[in-house]
């Protein structure tokens, strides 16, 4: 029984992992909200509805973006410049995991997380080529294939975080007990 740095890492990651799970669930909900739309054409034809829908999509995409810069122009409604950003925190938290495991020399755990880390890096730097800071692009997010991709990504991540949560829990206990 020893409280090593590795044990501390696991304890911290346990907490942070819960927050990651929360983020991912939020993503899933957001995409689901994007996907759901009323089939009622009467509603669709309503300009007010169009605006509302557009705002909604923009808002969700804005929340998902890594940098919080709301549309400066004619942006109606009081979306503050500091709306919560979910992507960057998620990526940075996950990066922190990897860094901590690296320091703690938990190679197996690090190995498990490395693929996702690379995926995040790729995702972060391989943005839409329009030079903007948009990660989830309001104009293309509604294309079914992109939306499907995003949803699948979220579900996979959720599964990964859940599994890793229990893995961290086990590992924490293991490291605490093993010395």
């Amino acid at each position: 029984m020893a409280f090593t740095f590795a044990a501390f890492c696991y304890m911290l990651t346990l907490v942070l992992c819960a927050s990651l799970i929360f983020f991912v669930i939020w993503h899933i909900i957001a995409f689901d909200e994007l996907r759901t739309d009323f089939k009622n054409p009467i509603d669709q034809g309503n300009p007010a509805r169009a605006r509302e829908r557009l705002k909604n999509i923009e808002r969700i995409c804005c929340l998902l973006r890594k940098v919080s810069r709301c549309p400066p122009s004619g942006c109606v409604g009081g979306r503050g410049a500091l709306s919560p950003q979910l992507v960057v925190p998620e990526y940075s938290i996950h990066g922190l995991f990897c860094l901590m495991f690296l320091c703690a020399a938990e190679w197996v755990t690090l190995g498990l997380n490395i693929p996702l880390l690379f995926y995040h890096l790729w995702r972060y730097f391989h943005r839409p080529a329009d030079g903007s800071e948009v990660m989830y692009d309001a104009v293309s997010i509604m294309n079914a294939d992109i939306l499907n991709y995003c949803q699948k990504e979220s579900w996979c991540k959720l599964a990964f975080y859940l599994l890793s949560f229990f893995y961290y829990l086990y590992s924490m206990v293991y490291t605490l007990v093993s010395f």
């Binding site: 739309d37 034809g45 169009a50 549309p71 329009d130 104009v139």
Partner: protein, 1259 residues
Amino acid sequence: MSAPAGSPHPAASARIPPKFGGAAASGPTASTDPSPAPHQQNGPAQNQMQVPSGYGIHQNYVSPSGHYSQGPGKMTSLPLDSQCDDYYSGLYTVPTQNVIPPSTTNQQPGAQQMYGRGPPAPHIVGSTPGSFQGAAPSASHLHTSASQSYSSFVNHYNSPAMYSTNSSVASQGFPSTCGHYAMSTVSNAVYPSASYPSLPAGDPYGQMFTSPNTPAIRPVKDHSFSGQKTAASHPSLLPPPPPSSQQHHQPQSLSGYNAVSWSPSGLPQANDSLIRNHAGSLNMSSSNPASIVADSSSYPVTQNVHSSKSSPVVSTGVSGVSSSRIPPTANHPVEPTASVTTQPSDLLQQKGMQYGEYVNNQASSAPTPLSSTSDDEEEEEEDEEAGVDSSSTTSSASPVPNSYDALEGGSYPDMLSSSTSSPAPEPAPDPDPATAPAPAVPQPSKLAKPFGYGYPILQPGYQNAAAPLSSGGQPSGQVYSGFQQYPQYPSVNQLSSSLGGLSLQSSPQPESLRPVNLTQERNILPTTPVWAPVPNLSLDLKKLNCSPDSFRCTLTNIPQTQALLNKAKLPLGLLLHPFRDLTQLPVITSNTIVRCRSCRTYINPFVSFIDQRRWKCNLCYRVNDVPEEFMYNPLTRSYGEPHKRPEVQNSTVEFIASSDYMLRPPQPAVYLFVLDVSHNAVEAGYLTILCQSLLENLDKLPGDSRTRIGFVTFDSTIHFYNLQEGLSQPQMLIVSDIDDVFLPTPDSLLVNLHESKELIKDLLNALPNMFTNTRETHSALGPALQAAFKLMSPTGGRVSVFQTQLPSLGAGLLQSREDPNQRSSTKVVQHLGPATDFYKKLALDCSGQQTAVDLFLLSSQYSDLASLACISKYSAGCIYYYPSFHYTHNPSQAEKLQKDLKRYLTRKIGFEAVMRIRCTKGLSMHTFHGNFFVRSTDLLSLANINPDAGFAVQLSIEESLTDTSLVCFQTALLYTSSKGERRIRVHTLCLPVVSSLADVYAGVDVQASICLLANMAVDRSVSSSLSDARDALVNAVVDSLSAYGSTVSNFQHSALIAPNSLKLFPLYVLALLKQKAFRTGTSTRLDDRVYAMCQIKSQPLVHLMKMIHPNLYRIDRLTDEGAIHVNDRVVPQPPLQKLSAEKLTREGAFLMDCGSVFYIWVGKGCENSFIEDVLGYPNFASVPQKMTHLPELDTLSSERTRSFITWLRDGRPLSPVLHVVKDESPAKTEFFQHLIEDRTEAAFSYYEFLLHVQQQICK
């Protein structure tokens, strides 16, 4: 009145007769019934008498009817009442008829007038000549016709509400009145049905619709009945007149009816014929009492009148059937009678006419005759459209009639009997007797559930109807009824497909599958234009299918599974041109737009009708009810033929949407022009051309009296123009704070076009010279757009932005990103995407406010179109680019701008539009291409829609389609027209499903595939890289050909084999690779490239194909061989030449049609005769370098050439600019770059490309 009073007496005496009359009305039909016959005869006679005698009498009668209605309360007293009726009726009717009260007051004589006028007012008068009949027909018309007619009807009805009530009442009355009346009631029902639709308002009619609707079928019958009724009513009232003679008279008067005869025997016949017609429409089988009932209900109307007042109870009983508005019923009867009476001679004649028409129509199945009487514009349209249906109607009608006759006979007799039995309006008793003659009658009337009745009845009718249709196209028969009958259908499909080629060839393989050895075939390009392949459907479906110009699928045979599609390696997608200018478009006005309740699909020609009352959605397979209104076919004016409605006969229809489809009033047409007036712009001189065009087309701008217009100019500041009416001259307001733009006077910047026309003209005249001395070189486009957005936010509309340089100030400023040295780079082409998301976000905001931004970029330097284009891309605008524009130095661009502007300003426009694309369950859409904002996974938000916008959609197959043989796609475009109407344009495409790979290849639409691939390649080059996109294009060819080679063809890999349907695929892909958008190695300015990409994304297929693969013709030897005649002009049809220099001879002259540009290449050794006769110059050397017009010379060859060019131009929205290119002139590179089969320094020739593909396949 006195006359009526007099009549009443007779009526009183005749009271019984009146009933008889009612019977008589039915009587003619009932003539079959011997016992009633006498009465009937009397009735008719009376009717006749009345008619002849004069409307006054009729009026009396009418009034009596009114009495009756009132009477109903006083059931027994009817006879007495009858006399009194005139007065009472008037009174009674008044009370009963809420709406019509005045009319009722008028009643008697007046009543008639009232009716004639009152109810339908114009309609009634015009159409109703035949009182009810007239009304009924009109109603039918209304149904068929657009809402207007409906509305009118509605009006009628409203007042008519009475009608509806009547009908309902009638039904109620029926019970009381009995079966006979039932007949009449039916007619009433018909009315209601007809009227109901129009009465969307939820008047009692609404109820009527819902339940009793079946009766609606009778409209036609009603007419006939009405005629009868009128007659009957008259007779009843008029009993006094000599029966026989009167009858004869009637016939005469009715002669129109059937000339056949009103003689006793004749009457029945006439009735029969009429009935048949009606029956045909109604499908009311004699067997079905229901039909009778319905009829009775109609009758009841008349009777109802009586009954209505007489006994609320009765009404209630009836009410079950109909809405229960007794009073209205009273009105109804009154109306008919009144109308009849009012215009006695006319009415009769009209009635006769109408009847006759009906008969003819029904008999001959010519739908239109009636239309003449009361058609609205819409109706006319429908009629035109419907014209086709006539044959079918007849056929359908014929079967029904028999039964119907029998029914009618029964009903009539019933009527008679009832009338006879109970002169008094006693409903209940009457029905019973009626039932006796016509067993079903009473019950049906009692049941009053039109639906129930309708079903059985309708079904038979329906089947009948269907049968004829099917007979027309053998498989089709199955199609209709049989969509559902999958087993059969597939077999048919398979048969046809396997027999394929549709027997074009004797060979077992269809023509489209004929293997073509690409490397051996030297002349791969056909000499005639390539047409879209026709889906392998039954003849009927083919006829119904959507035009390929508006709706195309890359695979006309849809593979059954995604696996099969993957095997074929072909793209699956749709190409849409939804708002195309159409010369013929069925416009439908109706209160209820019939749609699937679960997936909201609009009813279309490919749904299947399970029976008369239900249809099965062809996209989600849900079974839906057919609304009552839909049962009435406005085109044929028949009831019970939902499958013949225009919605079901046309795959492209336009609905006028009801107010349900708008939550705010439709927006007015609002146009805002945002003009760059910096030094650069003034130098280019576009303002002169723009203002000139605007001045010329100011009156042609689409819009109504609410049209608004505004102007904003900008350089480093933003200038607004106050054009408020009342100012002596336009006021210029300058806002120099571009960091925080505000509107100086928000109210007066967008002004009504008509009110401020003079000021606008002043401004347009002044604008070109206002900035001539400007030294401002900066351009604050971003702030100007923000201002425009603020200006347009309250209404939405169209913003037209003219920009001539890179925006250099304020938000959205851009830097030059192009490195000229990289223009011909073969490696990396950068900066295809936007440099900032400012424009994208602004575009989204605009889209949310229903504002579209159209961009006109007229610059001689790099302007970063890739960034600027976003403002139009996501707001559903359009993009025009005029490189090197200068009004004097570049006349061809100036001319192009002029022509484009003319088209742009005057073309149709739709505002605040959304487009939804649906497809059969199992298919799903992903990835849309075009200019829009994707608001939902199947919904495109289009702030504006214009006729030149095309869209593409990629599809995937999510679920196996094994359980269906057909798939359908439907696009619905909901928009506000420039006239402030909310409209929905619906296109439906139906395609067969196949299970074999060979069939998939047989159905490839190579042009559509290329266009879809081009769209995908644009996406790829922006998101990934240009070289990626190019590789993907080549791989598309390699994959599809190798897949074909390895799975379908029996040839070995030694040769490059393609199915005939795909033989142009490599050629077109090569053309794409050499297109400005995708070419490498050739110097291409970035803006040109980006513009080409924008065009690929937003152009409809027809234009895009010309852009990708131009047409080349030799024009120095045009002959009349194979020429076609267009508008008295002979248009020669030279064969297409392949795009290779080998086809160019120095001795010839060639025309290249690139869609937006025509080139005429004149060879060095071209005969002088051609140069002289066509170009107007003595020899080659004297032809100028820049020549953009052909002189109008009076020579044969000149005439031919010009007529050919004119013909080519006529087909497209933008009038292309003509360039005459001399061999040796520097401009010839422009021409030669389009010769895509030739080798260039950087690209393969066609043959080399084929070898490359073959190499890749063999790898």
